[in-house]
């Protein structure tokens, strides 16, 4: 039976897992795979696992239990080892890497920041501030929408202006928050967000990070809104690419 892996942490972690169950329809029991200073939380891997909401919640809930009581290296959703022995072998061969990662994130939390533009308000602002775009928009409207190629050409100009605003506002978000973070990592692109970025923030810097949000929100244009999600287990800061 292959083993679904949730997270890796130190053997000294209290691991308060009573009542928690694993992913999959059968809600398999959790078990621990220990190897010297490290321990992995695993369960039997269900067959035909898909990224269903229910299983994403369970995956995150198991990690959340461990995270609430100490430092944890959360696995990406869906990592499956051939068996517990293979997990143990990995803990042994990767002991140094995992030890370093745990030290790096001790006392830190991940805060994920997403920024969204209210599209209509952004377009309105672009047209009001850009005479050329406004004139062309007016001309297309007067021509009852205009020819297809004219619409595409106009839309391309608008798109470039939108992209410029997205980049500008993303830079602003990062510039204001980065000073309070130990590390920073761009998140995957998310539909509708002009910025998706995670910060690894030391517990002691959390208040400063939070305090930087209000001035940031005031500085951003009225059509931009910024939300912070977290504290999260440090999903974005446990990969090889975490230095980027």
């Amino acid at each position: 039976m292959s083993s679904y892996v949730y997270c890796v942490t130190r053997a000294s972690h209290p691991l308060p897992l009573e009542g928690a169950v694993g992913v999959g329809e059968r809600a398999p029991a959790l078990r621990l795979v220990r190897e010297k200073d490290l321990v992995a939380v695993v369960s039997d891997a269900p067959e035909n696992l898909r990224a269903k909401r229910r299983d994403l919640l369970k995956h995150d809930a198991v990690i959340g239990r461990v995270y609430a009581a100490g430092t944890v290296l959360p696995m990406r959703f869906g990592m499956v080892a051939p068996d517990d022995e293979a997990v143990q072998t990995e803990l042994r061969s990767g002991a140094r890497r995992y030890g370093e990662l745990l030290c790096r994130i001790d006392g830190h939390v991940e805060l994920n920041v997403k920024g969204v533009h209210a599209e209509e308000a952004l377009l309105r602002d672009l047209l009001l501030q850009n005479d050329e775009l406004r004139t062309r928009n007016h001309a297309l409207r007067a021509a009852d929408g205009g020819r297809h190629q004219d619409k595409v050409a106009f839309g391309e100009h608008v798109a470039a202006a939108v992209a410029e605003r997205r980049a500008r506002d993303a830079d602003q978000v990062i510039a204001r928050l980065q000073p309070h973070a130990a590390r920073i990592r761009q998140g995957p692109p998310v539909d509708g967000c002009f910025v998706n970025v995670s910060f690894l923030v030391a517990s002691g810097a959390r208040a400063d990070f939070d305090a930087a949000l209000s001035p940031l929100r005031r500085e951003l244009p009225g059509y931009a809104s910024v939300e912070v999600y977290g504290p999260l287990p440090p999903y974005s800061f446990v990969g090889n690419e975490a230095d980027v």
Partner: protein, 103 residues
């Protein structure tokens, strides 16, 4: 903190499901990867947040922008002016429009 965590159901533990939805791309695309392990298929996603469109490129996007711009009413008050008004000063006879302009 531990005691609280243990009295909650697994689903309620940690974070609310609504917030998980907002960071689902991190759980699917970040996190520790062990090369020698297999990653199960994540096709058939119920979650759509991660299905990111490239929103600012391509003919479809250009046409959508052009059409949205064509529908905008630029003669009304700007969003900034709308925002600066106290709540009570919003034009009550145009609630839908006021909301749109506030964005």
């Amino acid at each position: 903190m531990t005691a609280i965590a243990m009295t909650q159901t697994p689903q309620a533990n940690g974070r609310l499901s609504g917030e998980l939805y907002k960071v689902v791309e991190l759980i699917l695309d970040r996190g520790l990867v062990i090369d020698v392990f297999v990653r199960v298929s994540v096709i058939g996603l119920e979650v759509v947040t991660i299905d990111a469109r490239v929103v600012v490129a391509g003919v479809d996007a250009y046409l959508r922008f052009a059409e949205m711009c064509g529908r905008l009413d630029l003669t009304g008050s700007s969003p900034r002016i709308g925002r600066s008004l106290p709540d009570g000063a919003l034009p009550l006879e145009l609630p839908g429009r006021a909301r749109t302009e506030i964005g």
